[in-house]
Each structure stands twice: as structure tokens, then as C-alpha cells.
């Protein structure tokens, strides 16, 4: 979802890459406490996957989609190291059965057994069609922290325990099936505007306790968090969240790994006169800098940038320059390359690369259904 709106549109924007002078790296390493084990140029992925708002209730569709992805990996159309979120929507407890409401459509409720099976089907489909033995897939069934149709939130500690067990179950199944290099994690779309922080943070802690070391990726937003230079002193975000909460939800909790949204391609000029500043990536840069300064030099390391160019263009008005709710007009128009480049630049080339410098290993763009995967 959209985090902030600004007035300046993107202009010609160079995506800067940095190649390090080894001596400079060594110096930087020496100056940073407990940091660099090995130095290399920061890098970002050269290709991306599509992640999916799951709408089908067919296991066959999931395995076909996994196979299609593997076929594209075989031919180089998708990255050798792939990351795919299967977004199953909003958590709900139906009687004694945990599950989710699928997004869109008729809002069908699917159980965690269904989610487990469909994730395994996708993984099996990928494995069965993959011919490149060096390829890998991190598959992440996901849910969000929004309210269910009854207005209540079910993104709770108990739900975290269930999802931790779900990931363990899928990974045990993948191991027993022999699906080499297909691994599962959870994904959570945690957006501050949807829920206050206490219970989502419990979800994370309970997940960690139940997941046997396996990860969850937060592909949510930092809505309302500050994006100005130097604004990293645990400042507030929407709905009582602060930078510590988002750092914790995305990195501080043992199983947490950040996969933040960067959907927005509206830019602004900051107080220092720097143009084309991307607020969403700067919000995460500030959260990372908060971790560096206030959590024992522990900045967060973004694993993937999540955009939703495809999903937005599937459901919205055409970008003809006049439609007020088109992806262009609302700013939800970052291509994967733009989102990835913005986040990379924010972490590496802007205000504090010595604090937040990092590589990004995956890239993914959301779509409706298994349409392009």
C-alpha cells in the first residue's frame, strides 16, 4: 500500500553502482566494529520473479505455476536464485481451524492445511521441471496483518505458532520428497496502518519459537515512518508503530528478514536540495540506521525488494495521463528495476553507506494469480 505522497515525479535517475577499492574497503572495515567478514562490491539482482496473490484453490494450478517458473529459470528468463511469495491473504480462525481469507474475489477461506499443500505443490512443480541443478527457490507462503471481514485481527501469537509449524511441515515434506534447493519460509505483509504493533510483534516471536530456525520475510511497509536525513532516533510511524518496532518485526526477531515494499515512484526534493529522493526506500534506510545506532550496530539487511507494478496495472485504470486513480497517478508504479534501484541506492549511496551498505539478493514483483509466473 501507499506510504506517502509527494509532489515531484521521477525524472531521469541514474542507478549508481559502486565498485570498491580494496584498500578503501579494508579501511572502512577497520573502522567499523564487528562488521565485515569479507568485502565485496555491493550488488543487486539482475532479474526478478513474480510473486502471487493466490486466487486459485487448485493444487494442480500451483504445481503448474511452479513448473512454469522452473521452465523460465531453465531458459534464463527468471533468476537462478529465485524468491517467490505466495500471498494467501488475511488470517482468520474459522471455529478451531486456522487459515486465511484469500484476497479479492469471493473471499474464500482456506485452511493452513490447504496453504501447506498448495505450497508443496508449487515446490514439487518447480522441482519436477527444473533442469538447471544450480538453481534454487525460496518459497514463502504469506499472510498479512489486516483485519478479517469480521473486523477483528487474527495476526496473533497463536497464529505465529501455527505458521512456524506450517513452514517446518513444508520443509520436512520438501526434504522427504527430495526437492533439492527448494526451501520454504513464511512471508508477512505487515503494514502499520492495518494494526498496532504489540500483537504483530508477538506473532514474530511465537513464529521464531516454532519455526526451527526457518525464516519469515516481512514484505510490508513502513507507512508514516520518517524519510528525512538523520531521522532515525526511534521516531514514530503510523498507528503507534515506531522505528524500533519495524526494525524488530523485520530484523530484530530471530526469524525476521526484511523484504520491504517499494511500490511508490513519486519522488521529492529534500531539504538539502537533493532531488529524486524516494520516500519508501528512505524510510527503510532510516530504520536500518536506527539499528546501526541504537541496536548495537545492527542494521537490517534487505533480502528482496517487493514491488507491485503488475498487480496494480492488472486492476487499475490505464496510464493515459488523465485517470486520477491509475497506477501512474497514485504513484504505485515502480517497476521492479526502479524499486530495487531505489532501495539499493538508499542503502548504499545516499546518506549513510558506512552504516547500511549491503547487497540485495532477490527481487520480486506481485501479480494477481499465477498469470506470469
Amino acid at each position: 500500500m501507499l506510504i506517502v505522497r509527494s509532489t515531484k515525479k521521477r525524472g531521469a535517475r541514474a542507478v549508481t553502482r559502486t565498485v570498491l577499492l580494496p584498500a578503501v574497503v579494508a579501511l572502512a572495515t577497520a573502522l567499523l566494529p564487528g562488521v565485515v567478514a569479507r568485502a565485496a562490491a555491493a550488488s543487486m539482482p539482475s532479474n526478478y520473479t513474480y510473486s502471487i496473490y493466490v486466487t486459485s484453490t487448485s493444487g494442480s494450478d500451483a504445481s503448474t505455476a511452479g513448473c512454469n517458473l522452473a521452465t523460465k529459470v531453465n531458459s534464463g528468463l527468471r533468476p537462478l536464485s529465485s524468491f517467490v511469495i505466495l500471498d494467501f491473504g488475511t488470517p482468520y480462525l474459522n471455529g478451531s481451524t486456522w487459515g486465511t481469507y484469500l484476497l479479492g474475489g469471493t473471499g474464500q477461506f482456506v485452511s493452513t492445511t490447504f496453504i501447506t499443500n498448495v505450497t508443496e505443490d508449487f515446490g514439487a512443480g518447480f522441482h519436477n521441471c527444473l533442469t538447471n541443478g544450480s538453481a534454487s527457490l525460496r518459497l514463502a507462503p504469506g499472510e498479512n496483518d489486516a483485519a478479517a471481514p469480521d473486523g477483528k485481527h487474527y495476526f496473533t501469537g497463536s497464529n505465529g505458532t501455527v505458521w512456524g509449524g506450517l513452514v517446518v511441515s513444508v520443509n520436512n515434506w520438501l526434504a522427504s520428497y527430495g526437492a533439492v534447493n527448494v526451501t520454504a519460509a513464511a512471508a508477512v505483509d505487515v503494514e502499520p496502518s492495518w494494526y498496532t504493533p504489540a500483537t504483530p510483534l508477538l506473532w514474530g516471536s511465537y513464529f521464531s519459537a516454532a519455526s526451527g530456525g526457518y525464516a519469515y520475510y516481512n514484505f510490508g511497509s513502513a507507512d508514516g515512518c520518517p524519510y528525512g536525513n538523520g531521522q532515525y532516533t526511534n521516531l514514530g510511524c503510523n498507528n503507534s508503530w515506531n522505528q524500533y518496532d519495524l526494525w524488530d518485526m523485520s530484523w530484530g526477531i530471530a526469524a525476521a528478514w526484511p523484504a520491504p515494499e517499494d511500490y511508490n515512484n513519486t519522488y521529492y526534493t529534500d531539504a538539502a536540495g537533493t532531488g529524486n529522493v524516494d520516500p519508501q526506500s528512505r524510510q527503510w534506510e532510516n530504520i536500518s540506521r536506527y539499528g546501526y545506532h541504537y541496536q548495537s550496530t545492527n542494521p537490517l539487511y534487505v533480502q528482496t525488494v517487493t514491488t507491485q507494478w503488475e498487480a496494480c496495472h492488472q486492476v487499475n485504470l490505464p496510464d493515459d495521463g488523465t485517470n486520477p486513480n491509475s497506477c501512474y497517478s497514485t504513484g504505485v508504479n515502480n517497476t521492479q528495476a526502479q524499486g530495487d534501484g531505489d532501495m539499493f541506492n538508499a542503502m548504499n549511496n545516499d546518506w549513510a553507506p558506512l552504516e547500511t551498505g549491503q547487497s540485495i539478493q532477490w527481487a520480486t514483483d506481485m501479480e494477481w494469480g499465477y498469470t506470469l509466473s
Binding site: 572502512a28 474459522n94 471481514p149 526437492a179 530456525g213 485504470l317 517497476t335 553507506p353
Partner: protein, 204 residues
């Protein structure tokens, strides 16, 4: 509405330049324009040592891959998907017949749409495809009503097309109240009514 895209040409060109520089001159330090203008130094510590808790995650996946390799299975072209039990997919949102389809009293939102609040959805199952029509409004402008059409294949696995359409006049958020065939009767927030034709995707 279905499209596949490559990366932006300008981005590809930038990447090719980067790779060329990296291969030919590994000690080149590229400094961004912002840095030249007085920004921070372009020295980047990457691949830092992870906190112990994060290393535990890496180790868990390393062990998992080892288990998978120890039990590596050949590709199975005759894979049969895991059966889905009836109780694992449940329709909970109330609905009733309306014209050629069914009207669902409420719907989850559509990610990708910014600021649109869906009121309800009408669904028609046609041979080989499903047509969904969402009615709602714009959170930031209570005068605007909007219809979004989604067309899927018969299992809702593949998006076949669709788009959004503004109400012809500013009467507020829309809700579907009934249907005759594929003509949907809509009521706006101010009580006025309008019809949306789900065949031509036009108001009338």
C-alpha cells in the same frame, strides 16, 4: 491487461556499463553525483558478519538443503497434486443469486489498488472463465464511485483482463444492489442509482 516486460532499457544499459567497469577495472571507485556534490563517501561495507540469530537461520537452511540432497529425487513428470479436502476451502462470506451471477455481501480489498474501498462483488461463472465486478469508492474522495472488473480463467489461476471504471457522476461510493442478467443495479452513497453493463463494461 496481460503483459510481460523486460527491464527498462536504460536500466539494462546501466547494468551493462556496471558489469564492464567491474570486469575491466576492479579498483575503480564510482562515486555518485550526490557524493560528488558533498554527499557521503561511496565506501560500502557489504556481506557483513550476521548476528548470531541470523546465522542460525542460514544454518537451518544449509541443513535443510543437505537433507534434500541426501534424498534427492529425480524429476517426476507424472506428479499428482496433493488432494485438497472439502473442508480446506470454505465460502464464508454470505452470497445470493443475482441475475446471471451471485452477489457477495462484502469482499476483501484488491491489493494494487490504492485508496479504493470495495463494498461488494458480483461474480458470474461463464464457460471457461469467471467475471467479477467489484463496486466501491475512493477513500480520499467520498464523491467518487468506482467499478473494477476482473476476468479470470475458470479456476481463477490466470488473470485474463479487466480494469477500473469511474462512475459517470459524483454521487459517492457505489454498491451493487441487484442484477438482471448481466446488468448490475448500483446505488450510490447519495441514494441515486445507475446501471453497469457487465458485458460492455459501461455505465448506462
Amino acid at each position: 491487461m496481460i503483459r510481460d516486460r523486460g527491464r527498462l532499457p536504460s536500466f539494462q544499459a546501466t547494468r551493462r556499463r556496471f558489469i564492464a567497469i567491474a570486469l575491466a577495472a576492479p579498483i575503480v571507485l564510482v562515486v555518485s553525483a550526490a557524493a560528488l556534490a558533498g554527499g557521503p563517501p561511496a565506501t560500502i561495507p557489504v556481506n557483513a558478519t550476521l548476528p548470531a540469530t541470523k546465522q542460525a537461520t542460514v544454518d537451518a537452511y544449509t541443513a535443510l538443503v543437505a537433507r534434500e540432497k541426501a534424498n534427492a529425487a529425480p524429476a517426476n513428470p507424472n506428479w499428482s497434486p496433493i488432494p485438497i479436502a472439502n473442508g480446506d476451502v470454505v465460502q464464508l462470506i454470505p452470497h445470493h443469486a443475482a441475475g446471471a451471477g451471485e452477489l457477495y455481501d462484502g469482499a476483501t480489498q484488491l491489493p494494487g489498488q490504492t485508496g479504493i474501498v470495495v463494498a461488494n462483488v458480483w461474480v458470474e461463472r461463464q464457460p471457461g472463465r469467471i467475471v467479477e465486478v467489484y463496486a466501491g469508492g475512493v477513500a480520499d474522495d467520498p464523491t467518487l464511485g468506482v467499478i473494477t472488473v476482473a476476468i479470470w480463467n475458470s479456476s481463477r489461476a490466470v488473470w485474463l483482463g479487466g480494469g477500473s471504471y469511474w462512475a459517470p457522476a459524483h454521487h459517492g461510493s457505489l454498491a451493487i444492489i441487484d442484477a438482471a442478467g448481466e446488468a448490475l443495479a448500483l446505488r450510490a452513497a447519495d441514494g441515486s442509482t445507475v446501471t453497469f453493463d457487465a458485458v460492455t463494461d459501461a455505465f448506462r
